[in-house]
């Protein structure tokens, strides 16, 4: 059994903080907003203990700018926010996509649009995470439904940010962020941690910050070290200098999208519950998945062949995996707390879109096993 010191009873936001610390976070910049604030509060306390830096910026835009700057000096960085702040970060988030800056952005979702329902749960920012900034681009967005998994996907978020040189969005939600439950801090080495890939090009030899290696990866050089190069949000050549020639634009944009979309399988994380013989499948994620699992467990106990596919990677959407897992199911219910954002993806992914149903709740209350059961009964033609 685990060393007792490694067991914690914490909020999900704190689990995220501990995951970030495990992953090696060195810099955080943020601006408080419910229900994400505990992430920054804990990091204000935890980071300097490890020699890391914490700064409360004047707003969310500045926070996003600061973490990009700090990433370029060679540090692992993160910011955290919720809906309104996530909207404000979009311009700079697009910059991080374009300039290929490793960074993690946690969005602990609350009810929107606008100021909305600040202290209530929602999963309404899923599509925004994909499309919130202007222009074509690709993004990685991860989520989790319990504290152990929050810890893990936070580590993975940092890993993927470094691996793909990209911003990674952590889509948590108010329920999971605020509730407390057990967290067992893994031993060092238990979860692999990806360190920044730095260039091995020596002083005096040309370093091309934006020329992908054979394996597609782009080693970085820290600001302050021997290689002086340029970073810009304009389309740019392999040295990082602005270039708007059609060929350069075309290649860079495809690179930005392909490096994510072509790695959908490596990026994809998910969990399965009773899926082996499932005739009915609940596809869910984040705190909704807790209710889905709860409901499925109960129904299984009554002999119904129902399973749960819990998505942890929302973007790039793992369409092939979903298609495969759902093949042959009588009905698929997507359980989410919005007007139907992932259900659209699932419908496009599966062979028979008509077998896909939405079990949702948008009123700020956590969707309950009973809510899902109601939809299930209706699908079965049993009424409510």
């Amino acid at each position: 059994m685990k060393n007792n010191n490694n067991i914690r009873f914490v909020q999900g936001n704190e689990a995220c903080v501990e995951g970030a610390i495990y992953a090696g976070i060195e810099f955080f910049a943020g601006y408080p907003i419910t229900p994400s604030t505990e992430i920054m509060e804990h990091l204000a306390y935890r980071l300097p203990q490890k020699g890391g830096k914490f700064i409360q910026m004047e707003d969310e835009i500045g926070s996003m700018g600061a973490i990009i700057g700090a990433s370029l000096t060679g540090h692992k960085v993160m910011t955290a926010t919720s809906g309104p702040g996530f909207s404000l970060k979009q311009e700079a988030l697009g910059y991080a996509c374009m300039a290929e800056i490793p960074c993690v952005i946690a969005n602990v979702q609350r009810g929107g649009p606008s100021t909305g329902n600040p202290t209530h749960v929602s999963q309404g920012d899923v599509n925004q995470a994909r499309w919130g900034t202007h222009g074509d681009h690709a993004i990685i967005a991860l989520t989790a439904s319990n504290h152990q998994d929050i810890f893990k996907i936070t580590v993975e978020a940092f890993n993927m940010a470094e691996t793909y040189r990209t911003p990674v969005v952590l889509l948590l939600d108010e329920t999971i962020g605020h509730m407390r439950e057990k967290l067992v801090i893994p031993e060092t080495g238990e979860i692999p941690v990806v360190e920044r890939l730095r260039t091995s090009v020596k002083k005096g030899v040309d370093y091309h910050p934006y020329l992908p290696r054979e394996d597609g990866r782009l080693p970085m050089s820290d600001f302050g070290s021997e290689h002086r190069y340029n970073v810009t949000g304009l389309f740019h050549d392999m040295w990082g200098f602005p270039n708007s020639s059609p060929q350069v634009v075309n290649e860079l944009l495809r690179h930005l999208v392909d490096k994510i979309e072509n790695n959908v399988n490596s990026i994809n994380m998910y969990k399965e519950y009773w899926m082996d013989d499932a005739e009915f499948i609940l596809v869910s994620y984040g705190s909704s998945a807790r209710s889905a699992i709860h409901m499925a467990k109960n129904r299984r106990a009554r002999g119904i062949k129902i399973g749960v596919l819990e998505l942890q990677t929302l973007w790039p959407f793992p369409a092939d995996m979903v298609k495969e897992k759902c093949a042959g199911a009588k009905a698929i219910m997507v359980v989410e707390m919005n007007m139907g954002q992932i259900v659209t993806q699932v419908k496009s992914a599966v062979d028979n879109p008509d077998s896909v149903f939405l079990a949702n709740r948008i009123d700020g209350e956590l969707i309950s096993p009973t809510d899902i059961k109601t939809v299930f009964r209706m699908i079965q033609g049993k009424g409510v």
Binding site: N4, I7, F9, T34, P35, P118, T119, H120, E174, T175, H178, M179, R180, E181, K182, S287, R290, S291, I293, H294, K297, L366, S368, P369
Partner: protein, 181 residues
């Protein structure tokens, strides 16, 4: 162990949320159980009735909210009025005699204890009211070992305050143990 669903309710300054966290934490850290604690946030938390949900179980807990508590603790009239109707038939209702007057009974064991008055009389500090309540609840139900609570307190409050807290817990325990449930 059967799944335990508790709701602690009261008003802002009474420490019901702290009590809920202590209880759940004790169950997880020192009794090898699973537990979940959650609470209402926002405007309602500042004025009005505060509520914290706790679920304790040996197995994994998924849905984290309490819809119908086995145990309801209410430390204000307002919270009693609001939450008494949701108590699970056959459950337990614990209220403080100074703050709550029981109205229309529900199908549950009703226990009214002079927790606040006892604390004020024996210790004189309202700040440990919530710990006394925990003691009483444990006394009644035995849902956890009192030592586990003390272990949690040891990690979270200054040494100097331990004696007072222990005393409050004991006062509660004593009152609680007298009640049959």
């Amino acid at each position: 162990m059967e799944r335990l669903r508790l709701v602690f309710s009261g008003s802002g300054g009474q420490g019901v949320i702290t009590a809920a966290i202590i209880l759940a934490k004790a169950a997880v850290l020192f009794e090898n159980k699973n537990a979940i604690q959650s609470q209402s946030y926002g405007a309602a938390a500042r004025g009005g009735a505060t509520r914290s949900d706790i679920i304790i179980d040996d197995s994994q807990i998924y849905f984290p909210k309490v819809i119908q508590p086995n145990v309801l603790v209410s430390l204000t009239q307002e919270s009693y009025n609001k939450f008494a109707p949701i108590i699970r038939p056959g459950g337990l209702l614990l209220v403080d005699s100074k703050y709550v007057t029981i109205g229309k009974k529900v199908d549950a064991k009703h226990i009214t204890l002079p927790m606040f008055d006892t604390i004020m009389e024996k210790i004189g500090k309202p700040i440990v009211f919530n710990i006394c309540m925990l003691g009483a609840l444990i006394g009644i139900s035995g849902l956890i070992k009192p030592e586990s609570i003390l272990k949690v307190l040891k990690t979270s409050i200054p040494e100097d305050f331990m004696a007072m807290n222990k005393k409050a817990l004991d006062l509660g325990l004593k009152m609680g143990k007298k009640e049959k449930y």
